[in-house]
Amino acid sequence: MGGVGYTNLRDMSVGPLLVERLGRSAWPDGVDIEDLSAGAIHVLHALQAGPVYDAAILVAGVRRGGPPGTIRERRWLHPRQTDEAVQERVAEALVGIIDLDTLVTVLDHFGALPRDTRIIEVEPRDEDWGETLSAPVEAVQAELDRLVRRTVDEALR
């Protein structure tokens, strides 16, 4: 399970904050809780150097529209992307962008995403500098924890 996003960017930091929280719990063998708040190429290299995973769960604050605190869950369907689209994401990743869409596009292109990849997004309200979450995003943290734990259980079956 990986948390994606910048640290200290309020609701956009929901992924790294979740990792910090969940990392304190005991998890079954083979489950790693990783802070992926790094550029996609850095993450790619780290994944290439580490164990091969059967499944991935990526969690991030992503603004798509809708009420703040909305939790969205989906499977990554490994869509085909044009070379131009991938190249654009690679260039963004190289210059320091930390972004869920960039991450999955780059990892998928280089074959570093498990077939079973699940995405959990939280709609942010505040994305200015700071350590705290907004009230609507804070309010769904317990639900987010439960969802991640349930998704891990499903992936382990």
Binding site: V86, V90, G96, I98, D99
Partner: protein
């Protein structure tokens, strides 16, 4: 004469004074040039259908978000006007105000997602000057190892992953098919080293996602990042740079881990320099007019970087002397003339202007610091006197259009870059004695040890012109140069270890009285300065001046455009296009990318024709006002 525009003269003892008989020595009257220029351009656009406004927003394959507006005559193939726009206020300087100075190392590092280490190091040096402490020799040497490794990441990233695609088969075929035809028959000079005997094969290898050089660059940058992490604990934001040294535990194993990776990069750097040497010569052979693409005067600034452990004491008084013993030499060159290598004089000449930037003036009343710590006069526009007063407003080419300020030296437009570092180091002939690098006055000679490739001596010759191709070529030669700086410092680290000098930091207390400091440093992209003032244990003012602030700057109050703008306006349009809709602006893009821009993250929307609108959240390597 050091200064030709500022009212500063030097006495026989070398001390600076304000020129006598001037009431308000730093006052200036903004030139009307910008308004006149805008009226002329508007007239041209209204009268001529073939003159088009081209807005590129964002400029892709650069760090952060940069927008660029130009006015191009598609018949005469010339650029009439250009505006460089940094589109987001980031406010690091505001964030740092009121904080413990030690925070600056970690917070300012976040200004950039590519080269955070440069800010951490610049902040550490500014703090050390203010605190009155300096690292022990091993601390300085290890910091050099970390910093040089970051550049070994930065240069190939730019040349193969960001700028390289501009010279790849798909781009050349699409924009200049006649150049591609020539590439198919052009024999490279250094094929025996880099493996591409035909230029077309080399250009195919630069193709994004599939080209062998493009893909190889991922591995090369990975090794360099690992070197950074060995020294800094992590990357891109170091955890081990501290005031007074570095907190990394240094032992033989750490140095060996670093060395293994360094030797791989030393070898690759031979190829890298010669690949870009071949590309440069081919482009000139294909079209001599490429010498004009991105051309601007040889006016360059560099603060030097990588301190010598026997010279760096972190005092302002000794900055000029210790600066000249750095592994890259500080200096300012105006129109090809080296004006100074003296960091004090370079500092005195710095000013920032905001006539075309989204800030308010701060120069009401007397400046906080009329002189530097040695009593030399300072301008009210000097970074130690500057205040960051953001004033967001609508964009107007005549008035304000960017978040970048206009840094100037002696009121001259200077540019920063890895090439400025190479250029000034080569002509200054002040490198510390060492077995690998020689500054000849007209070149840098570099002897690289045997690896998989044999030992070889490369020579980067100071070019006659400053243009897009020469910026990239110098950056490519900066890779072996930087790798040899690593090697020199690695050997120094082994020597220090052998003699028992393993201490890497000193103790300190945060002073409570008023202090002043500056970190004269450099990024992969060149010149970087952090100016700091503090009192009662907290920062009272912090000013970050990055290479891209300088290069992306707007016009100044004297009517002179910034370096990107000037270089684009000097660029002939050489690409082939059947209709205006086919125009891809590759010559303009090559020009901008040749500076290796590193801009702030932004959320920006501009509605206009031929405009790409995109929302991004990213790093930023510049304009942190």
């Amino acid at each position: 004469m050091c200064f030709k525009n500022l009212p500063v003269v030097f006495d026989d003892a070398g001390k600076a004074h304000l020129r006598e008989g001037i009431n308000d020595p730093y006052v200036y009257k903004p030139a009307p040039t910008t308004e006149e220029r805008q009226q002329r351009i508007e007239g041209l656009l209204a009268r001529n259908g073939h003159i088009k406004e081209i807005s590129i927003d964002p400029v892709t394959r650069v760090a952060g978000a940069l927008a660029f507006h130009s006015v191009v005559d598609l018949e005469t193939r010339t650029v009439h006007d250009a505006h460089s726009m940094a589109t987001l206020f980031r406010g690091y300087e505001v964030i740092l105000k009121g904080r413990d100075p030690r925070d600056a190392i970690f917070i300012s590092s976040r200004a950039c997602g590519v080269c955070g280490g440069v800010h951490a190091n610049a902040a550490a040096e500014a703090i050390e000057m203010a605190f009155g402490i300096a690292p022990p020799p091993m601390g300085t040497v290890i910091r050099n190892l970390g910093q040089a490794a970051e550049f070994l990441y930065d240069h190939p990233l730019h040349l193969f992953l960001l700028a390289g695609p501009d010279y790849s088969e798909p781009i050349i075929r699409a924009t200049n098919p006649e150049v591609w035809s020539l590439a198919e028959t052009f024999t490279t000079r250094h094929g025996a080293v880099h493996g591409f005997t035909k230029m077309s094969d080399l250009m195919t290898a630069l193709t994004p996602l599939s080209g062998s050089l493009y893909l190889e660059a991922f591995e090369i940058t990975r090794k360099a990042r690992e070197m950074c992490s060995i020294i800094w604990g992590k990357y891109p934001h170091p955890q081990t740079i501290v005031p007074g040294g570095i907190s990394t535990t240094i032992n033989t194993q750490v140095l060996n881990e670093y060395q293994i990776r360094l030797f791989a990069l030393l070898d690759h750097s031979k190829k890298m320099a010669l690949i870009w040497d071949d590309i440069s010569e081919f482009m000139y052979a294909a079209k001599p007019e490429y010498r004009q693409v991105g051309a601007r005067p040889r006016s360059l600034i560099e603060l030097g970087i990588w301190d010598h452990p026997d010279a760096y004491d972190a005092t302002y008084a000794n900055a000029a002397a210790s600066g000249e013993r750095r592994w890259a030499t500080p200096g300012v060159m105006i129109d090809g003339e080296l004006r100074t290598n003296d960091l004090h004089k370079i500092n005195l000449g710095l000013e920032e202007f905001v006539e075309h930037s989204f800030y308010e003036q701060w120069t009401n009343g007397s400046p906080k610091f009329a002189t530097d710590p040695l009593g030399n006069p300072l301008s009210p526009h000097h970074p130690w006197n500057k205040e960051t007063l953001p004033a967001p407003q609508g964009r107007s080419w005549k008035e304000k259009y960017t978040w970048s300020t206009a840094p100037r030296w002696d009121r001259e437009v200077v540019e920063a870059g890895a090439y400025a570092r190479m250029w000034i180091t080569a002509v200054s002939k002040k490198l510390p004695p060492n077995p690998f690098i020689e500054a000849t006055g007209t070149s840098l000679k570099m002897t690289l040890p045997k690896g998989v490739l044999p030992e070889m001596t490369l020579e980067w010759v100071v070019p006659m012109e400053n243009n897009a191709i020469e910026r990239n070529r110098a950056r490519a030669f900066a890779q072996p140069y930087t790798a040899l700086v690593c090697l020199n410092n690695l050997l120094a680290a082994y020597e220090l270890m052998k003699s028992g000098n393993t201490r890497v930091s000193v103790d300190f207390k945060v002073p409570r009285d008023e202090r002043i400091g500056v970190g004269f440093w450099g990024a992969g992209r060149g010149y970087l300065a952090h100016h700091l003032t503090m009192d009662k244990g907290v920062i009272t003012n912090y000013q970050i001046n990055t290479p891209s602030t300088t290069n992306a700057s707007p016009a100044d109050p004297f009517g002179k455009p910034g370096p990107y703008e000037e270089a684009v306006m000097n660029t002939p349009i050489l690409e082939q296009y059947a209709t205006p809709d086919d125009f891809k602006a590759i010559d303009i893009l090559r020009t901008i990318r040749s500076f290796d821009p590193c801009m702030p993250c932004t959320t920006h929307v501009y509605a206009g024709s031929r405009t790409i609108v995109q929302e991004v959240t990213t790093c930023a390597c510049e304009l942190d006002e």
